[in-house]
């Protein structure tokens, strides 16, 4: 216990909503995703290309430049000067070759096929390639950028975005930061989407203070300011690290920058207090939202009910079911599971069981987390009969067991002298791949060891 169950964990931070304005950039400026290279050699390019509007997918399998040139020459007369097609050719070759060879191929392509004029997206293929190539410094990236500049494509926002993304994905955060600063000096500062992407990656690996340092530097040296999304990412990061003091400071900063916290920010702060089981603060955030006129959403209520249940205030949490109904929101399995969790903490497993019936009556079907919470609760409340019944339902529905409930259930069975049934549960856990064999077995082993000791002391049957 004390951990946020997976069903709840996924909900409070709606990451997709943070990405909503990213789509625009990505779609318009980044070339189509590269065709995956085939495993088998595709030796004979299809000959019927000119007649059909659909262009053949060619993939290069050999890193040899001369082979690639020959293949391109064989295609050159049969294909129109379609930009996308050429980009995909280059992309395909770049996945198997070195950066220099890919650059040479591009040069060869423009020479032998004058109708084809490479644009931004073509050079971005090379740029991506240079970002992914292992390199102790940024030499390759710089070289590509210089090439782009001489060909008439000075770095712009899209270039920045492509480079930063590729560097981050290649795990070269240090270089991404360096490059962003360089771009800023060249009057091509990252747009908010790129900036937020970088911040998100920094948050994953760096300490809070070093991220703050980066943001301060960007603000002071290059006038790149964090926006509301940046703040949301930052606050989420510190809340996940249970650093609510820093979250409060960031909330203040956010206000100073002229932003008003929205629903997502409040949800995240609320989640932070949930992690610390501070029920009063969770309620305080809710009240604050109401005061500020921010409409709570489903995530807010789920977080609120989870937090209150976790800090032992199930009764209050239950009242919010009514509030949700008034708002026209219908509680989902996450809401109910949180409540059941709270009830089980109070050893009120039969109440939780009633809630299961209520929820099913309302047409909301329980998920595996619900079942595991209940199983754990029933065992702790010494309602073994009910627990075995529930286990039967779980087994019939192929519901996986979680480590915690598995251990509790096994221990309760053994304590009541039902070792054979415990072995059967062990078999189910292994068969259904709920747990790794090793974990399932070591749990069983340590429980049996404990049982032996308990028997010697006359504590168990």
């Amino acid at each position: 216990m004390g951990k946020i169950p997976p069903a709840v964990r996924t909900v409070p931070f709606p990451a997709s909503s943070l990405l909503k304005n990213r789509q625009a950039v990505v779609q318009s400026e980044i070339p189509n995703p590269p065709p995956k290279p085939h495993r088998f050699p595709n030796k004979t390019p299809k000959k019927n290309a000119p007649q059909t509007p659909k262009l053949p997918t060619i993939s290069f399998t050999s890193p040899s430049l001369s082979d690639a040139k020959t293949l391109f020459n064989s295609l050159v007369n049969s294909t129109p000067a379609d930009l996308k097609f050429h980009n995909s050719l280059l992309q395909s070759y770049a996945t198997v070759s070195s950066l220099d060879d890919a650059t040479s191929l591009l040069r060869h392509m423009t020479k032998t096929h004058p109708a084809f004029s490479p644009d931004h997206s073509t050079y971005q293929v090379l740029l991506t390639k240079s970002c992914y190539s292992p390199d102790p410094n940024l030499a390759a990236v710089r070289k590509t950028l210089t090439l782009m500049a001489t060909e008439g494509f000075p770095p712009d926002k899209a270039t920045t975005d492509v480079a930063v993304r590729s560097l981050c994905n290649a795990g070269r955060l240090e270089h991404a930061v360096e490059l962003v600063k360089e771009f800023c000096l060249k009057n091509s500062p990252p747009d908010s989407v790129t900036y937020n992407f970088l911040i998100k990656h920094l948050c994953r690996t760096r300490t809070v203070s070093s991220v703050n340092g980066f943001i301060k530097e960007m603000r002071e040296s290059f006038a790149v300011k964090p926006d509301l999304v940046s703040y949301t990412i930052l606050i989420d990061n510190v809340c996940n690290r249970k650093n609510l003091r820093e979250a409060t400071r960031l909330l203040g900063l956010l206000g100073e920058d002229g932003f008003k916290p929205d629903c997502y920010v409040y949800n995240i702060v609320m989640k932070g207090y949930c992690m610390l089981s501070q029920g009063s603060e969770v309620l305080w955030v809710y009240k604050k939202m109401k005061e500020e006129g921010v409409e709570p959403d489903m995530v807010t209520y789920n977080t609120l009910i989870f937090g209150l249940s976790k800090s032992g205030r199930v009764k209050e949490a239950r009242k919010f079911l009514g509030v949700m109904a008034e708002m026209g929101l219908s509680p989902d399995e996450v809401t109910y599971t949180s409540l059941m969790n709270g009830m089980c903490r109070e050893r009120n497993a039969s109440g939780a069981l009633e809630l299961l019936e209520e929820m099913e009556a309302k047409g909301c079907s329980p998920n595996s987390c619900t079942y595991n919470t209940l199983l754990h609760g029933l065992c702790k409340a010494k309602l073994l009969g009910k627990a075995i019944e529930l286990y039967g339902v779980m087994k019939a529905g192929d519901v996986k067991l979680e480590t915690g409930s598995y251990g509790t259930f096994l221990r309760t069975l053994c304590r009541n002298g039902r070792v054979a049934e415990a072995y059967e549960v062990f078999d189910y856990a292994v068969e259904s791949k709920s747990l790794k064999d090793v974990v399932a077995y070591s749990t069983l082993e340590s429980i049996l060891k404990w049982l032996k000791k308990a028997k010697e002391q006359g504590l168990a049957v």
Partner: protein, 99 residues
Amino acid sequence: MLPRMKKAITENPKKLSNLIDLVNLPSTLRDFLGQSQISRLGCFMRVWSYIKANNLQDPNNKNVVNCDDKLRSILLGKPQVELAELPTLIKLHFPKEPK
């Protein structure tokens, strides 16, 4: 009271290797399993599935296993063992390596 659930075994490399490393088997086990190397986990699984396959659990008390000759040879020659002591008995074949 109850022992707190220990940290997942996967986080403890020593215990993990104790469980899944292949070990050269003594002749008795070799005859039973038909192979010369197995891990402690694998051995337990094989013995347990042998018990299930041959219906060796006592019909009146499922917690007890009535050993057949083959099984008896690897479980200290006991005619009857409790399921609860099965892991301990199997562990006897996998002594700690002296270091």
